[in-house]
Amino acid sequence: MNFILEILGGFSALASPEVLAYMVIGFLIGTFFGAVPGLTSVLAIALLLPITYSLDVVPALVMCASIFMSGMYAGSITATTINIPGAPSSMMTSIEGYALMKQGKGANALGHAALGSMIGGIVGALLLIALTPIAAKASLLIQTPGKFSLILFALVVIVISQRDAIAKGTVATLLGIMIATIGIDVMQPIARFNFGTETLVEGIDMMPLIIGTFAISEILYQAQQSNDPLTIDADTRNLTPIRRKDFLPSWNEIREIGFFTYLKSALIGYFIGVLPGAGGSMAAFVSYAEAMRKSKKPGEYGKGSREGIAAAETANNSMCGGAFVPMLMFGIPGDPTTAIVLGVLIINGLQPGPRLLDTQLDLIAPMFASLLISALILIPLTLYLLGPYFVKIVSIRKALLYSCIAVVALVGSYVATYSPFQMMLALVFGVLAFFLRKQNYPTVTLLLGFILGPDLEQYLRRALSLNDGNPLTFLTSLDSLFFLALTAVFFYFMVIRVPKPSKA
C-alpha cells in the first residue's frame, strides 16, 4: 500500500512546473539525439551527467527517463524518412518504414512507430512499477557468493552478446575492470595503481570515462568520416511532405496487427531489457522476427509491413522499463543508457539495491512516472506537433553540432571537480575509445566492466575470505549455483550451440 502511495506521489512530483519542464526538455533532447544518425540517447544522457551535479536528483532522474524513452522512439524517425536509423534499435523499422515512405505512406509509418512505441513504453513502465517490489524481495535472498555469481553472469552475458567480437568484448570488459581497480582498494585502505601520483589515489571518476567513451570518441569518429562535411545526411528536398492528418493509424490497420502482437512484443522487449547488455536492438530484432514468424502476411515483410514496425517499436520501447529492474535492484545495468543513469544515482548518493525502495522511493518514483508519461503523452504529442518537421532534423550542420557536443563534454567534465585534470582524463578515454571503436571493440562492455568491476572484486574476495579461500563456496551456495548454472546455459545457447552461418 505504501509502495502504491509513493508511486502516486511520483506522479504528483511531475506536476511541479520545474520537474515537468525538465521532463519535456529531456524528451525533446532525447528526440533530437535519437533521430540524428550517429547521435544516441546514451550520448544525450552522458552529456547530461555533469549537469546533474547542479540539478536536484528528482529532475535529473526524470530527465534521464524521458531522454531514454524518447531516444528509443525517435530512432524510428530517420529510419522511416531517409532510411538511416537514428539509433541501432530502429534497424528493423527502417526496413519496413522506408518501404512505406517510398509508397508515399511515410506519415502512416511514423504513426504506427509512435503507436507501437507508446504501447511498448506504457507496458514496460507498468511492468517496471509492478515487478520492482518483487525483484527487491528476490534480491534480498542473494548472499555474497550469489552476488558475485550474479555479476559474473551479467558480465558474461554482456560479452557473449557481442556475437562476432567475443574476444574483443572480453578485452574491453577486462580493460574496464583494470581501470576500476585504480585508486583505493575495495577492502583495505591502500592505494593501488596510482603510480606515485596523488591525483589517482581517489581512483578514476565515472564521469570522464563516460564522457570520453561516448562523447569525445564520437567527435573523433565523426571527424574522421569527413565525406559529408556539411550535414548529417541526405538531400531531403524531394521527399513526400508529411501531413499531420496522416499520422493517425486507421482502426482496421491496428486490428490487422492485432492486440496480441503488441502485447507479445512488449513482453519480449521487457524481458530482453531485464537481461544485462541485451538492449533495444536485440529486443527489436527478436520481436520483429517473432512477429514475422507468426504473421498472417509474411510476404509483406521487407515491403512495408506495419506489423513489423509495430513489433519492433513496441519491443524497443518496452525494453526501457525492463532495463531499469537489474540496475535499480542489483546495480547491474541492463543497457548502456541505464549504466549512465546508474552514474546519476551514484553521483547523487543513491545506492542501488532493495533498500532503495524502502528509504528513497520518493526519489525514484518520479522517474517511473516520467517513463510512463513520456510514453503515454509525450510520444503522440511530439509526433503531432513536430512530426511534419522531423525530416528537417537531418539538415543540421555537422560542424556546428559536434562543436557544441565538444564544448558540453569538456566543460561538463570540468564542472565535476573544477579541475582541468578531469577534462584531460575525458580526452584520454575518448582517444582510447576511438581506437577501440575503429578496431571493432565494443566500448559498452568497457563501461560495464568499469561499473561492475569493484562489486565483482569485493564480493569475490569477501566470499573467499569468509570461506578460508575455498572456491567451492560458489558451488555450495544455492543462489550462486543458480547464477553459475544460468551463465552456463546462456553460454551454451549463445556461443556453443549458436547456428553457424552457412557458407555460400
Binding site: I51, S54, L55, A167, K168, T170, V171, L174, L175, I177, M178, T181, D185, M187, Q188, P189, I190, R192, F193, I219, L220, Y221, Q222, A223, Q224, Q225, S226, N227, P229, L230, R397, K398, A399, L400, Y402, S403, C404, A406, V407, L410, V411, Y414, V415, Y418, P420, M423, M424, L427, V431, F435, L436, Q439, Y441, L456, L460, R461, L464, S465, D468, G469
Partner: protein
C-alpha cells in the same frame, strides 16, 4: 598476400600490442602491492593478477583472430578504402586542439579559450562554405549559449580571463 592487406593486419595488431604492454605494466605493478593486513590469497593484488591473466588469454584470441583473418576480406576493405579511406588527420588535429584548449582553459578563461576552440573545430569539421564572418559569429554564439547554460542557468563557476574577472 597483397601489400594492402599486410598493412591492414599490421594496423589491427597495434592496439592489442599496446594493450599487451599496458597489461604487463599493470601486472608488474599488481605484484608489488603490499597489503595493509593479511587476507591470505585474496589480497589487494588477487583480482588485478587474475584480470591480467585473463587479459593475456583474451588478447591471445584477438591476435589469433587477426592473424587468421582471410585475405579476401582485407582486399575488399582496401579496395573500398582507396576511394573512401577515412583519414586520421582530422581526429589528430582535434585531439591537439583539445589538449591546447584544456591547457589554456583556466589561464585564458572560458570565453576566449572556448571561442578559439570552437573556431578551430568548425575549421576541422570543414564548415567551408561559410565565410569568416559567419564562422566567427557561430563561434561567438555557441560560446555564449553554453556560457548561459552553465554559468547562468546551472550556476557553475567558469574560469574567466583575469582582466575580465570581477
Amino acid at each position: 598476400m597483397p601489400a594492402s592487406s599486410i598493412t591492414a593486419k599490421r594496423g589491427a595488431l597495434v592496439l592489442p600490442l599496446f594493450l599487451l604492454i599496458i597489461t604487463t605494466i599493470y601486472l608488474a605493478t599488481a605484484l608489488q602491492i603490499a597489503p595493509q593486513f593479511d587476507e591470505g590469497l585474496v589480497g589487494p593484488s588477487f583480482v588485478p593478477v587474475l584480470v591480467s591473466i585473463l587479459m593475456y588469454i583474451a588478447l591471445g584470441f584477438v591476435f589469433r583472430d587477426v592473424l587468421k583473418a582471410p585475405v579476401a576480406v582485407d582486399e575488399t576493405i582496401s579496395e573500398e578504402s582507396q576511394t573512401e579511406k577515412p583519414s586520421l588527420g582530422p581526429a589528430i588535429k582535434i585531439v591537439v586542439a583539445t589538449v591546447i584548449y584544456i591547457a589554456v582553459f583556466k589561464t585564458l578563461g572560458y570565453p576566449l579559450s572556448t571561442f578559439l576552440y570552437i573556431y578551430a573545430l568548425l575549421f576541422f569539421f570543414k564548415l567551408e562554405k561559410t565565410g569568416q564572418v559567419w564562422r566567427i559569429a557561430y563561434s561567438a554564439v555557441i560560446t555564449a549559449v553554453f556560457y548561459i547554460l552553465f554559468a547562468v542557468i546551472f550556476q557553475v563557476r567558469l574560469p574567466m580571463l583575469e582582466v575580465l574577472s570581477p
